[in-house]
């Protein structure tokens, strides 16, 4: 597991906790929860840029490279989809949808790390 994974681990867990807490407190998605999901997206973008730099500088992905990029691309779409979905219906349940992003990103980052090494 590398630094990218740990960044997403921390940011993803934090985002999920914030969103679940907001959902339990019966709040609709607000700046805090949406920004926490945006932070997950940012962490994934850092992973993307970092990975491009590493590949460009000659590092090799141990597993299937297209599988790695597939995971990364899908992970990058998830936060956008979830935020869009939560804006369409602003209820507390949308916060639970947002909470799913952090955990999912975390699982996908773990898998991406496995593929890389």
């Amino acid at each position: 597991m590398d630094a990218y994974f740990y960044i997403i681990l921390v940011v993803g867990l934090l985002s999920s906790i914030i969103c679940v807490a907001a959902g339990i407190l019966k709040k609709a998605p607000n700046d805090t929860t949406i920004l926490s999901v945006a932070a997950v997206e940012l962490a994934l973008l850092v992973y993307l840029v970092g990975s491009i730099v590493r590949v460009a500088s000659g590092e090799r992905i141990a597993g299937e490279s297209w599988e790695f990029w597939g995971y990364l691309a899908t992970a990058l779409i998830l936060p956008i989809g979830a935020v869009y979905w939560s804006i369409l219906e602003r209820t507390r349940w949308s916060n639970f949808v947002l909470a799913a992003v952090g955990v999912t990103a975390l699982v996908m980052a773990a898998r991406m790390n496995q593929i890389w090494y």
Binding site: K26, A28, E64, E67, G70, T74, L78, A82, W85, I87, L88, E89, R90, T91, R92, W93, S94, F96, V97, A100, T104
Partner: protein
């Protein structure tokens, strides 16, 4: 009880605090009482659909990957993977769509999913020789935090609570 509160809270919110409400069909269905088009894709239903969507995407991708790269290793397991992916896709779409037909389709899909996870889960435990290759449903979905086992149960509860009225 909790859902009822939530729906009330939401419809009042749609009326006052949601400027984008006019663009979504959800606002229309809750705001206009005489036309109860779809109550399945609001509130907790949205979370359910979101989780189903994640499983539909991941199961489809995984099955596609398995079939493309190593189908000959275990055709049965990978076909099962593809079937599971299909069930998740059907469940996601039918849960999100309004109407009675979609309701029936989603009940069927969720039931198939429940049977699938129970049968495949049991087979992978008792007949590990013939089911050594992973699918979403192996070991009752242990590789996915047992969510595949929980999801159809929650899905059936949700569908039962939001079933269409007996006579329309």
């Amino acid at each position: 009880m909790e859902e009822a509160e939530n729906v009330n809270a939401k419809s009042s919110q749609d009326g006052t605090a949601n400027p984008a409400g006019s663009t979504s069909e959800i606002a229309g269905s809750t705001g206009a009482a005489p036309a109860p088009t779809n109550t399945r894709n609001t509130g907790p239903g949205r979370l359910l659909i979101a989780v189903y969507a994640v499983f539909a995407i991941s199961a489809t991708a995984r099955a596609g990957y398995q079939i493309v790269t190593k189908f000959s290793e275990a055709p049965l397991a990978y076909l099962l993977s593809a079937f599971a992916a299909l069930v998740y896709v059907v469940a996601t779409v039918s849960l999100a769509k309004p109407g009675r037909t979609a309701f029936k389709v989603s009940v069927a899909a969720v039931l198939v999913e429940l049977v699938g996870v129970l049968v495949v889960g049991a087979l992978s435990v008792f007949d590990a020789v013939n089911f050594p290759h992973e699918t979403v449903w192996s070991l009752f979905g242990r590789g996915y935090g047992f969510i595949p086992l929980l999801l159809p149960i929650l899905g059936l509860i949700w569908l039962y609570r939001r079933r269409p009225a007996a006579s329309a």
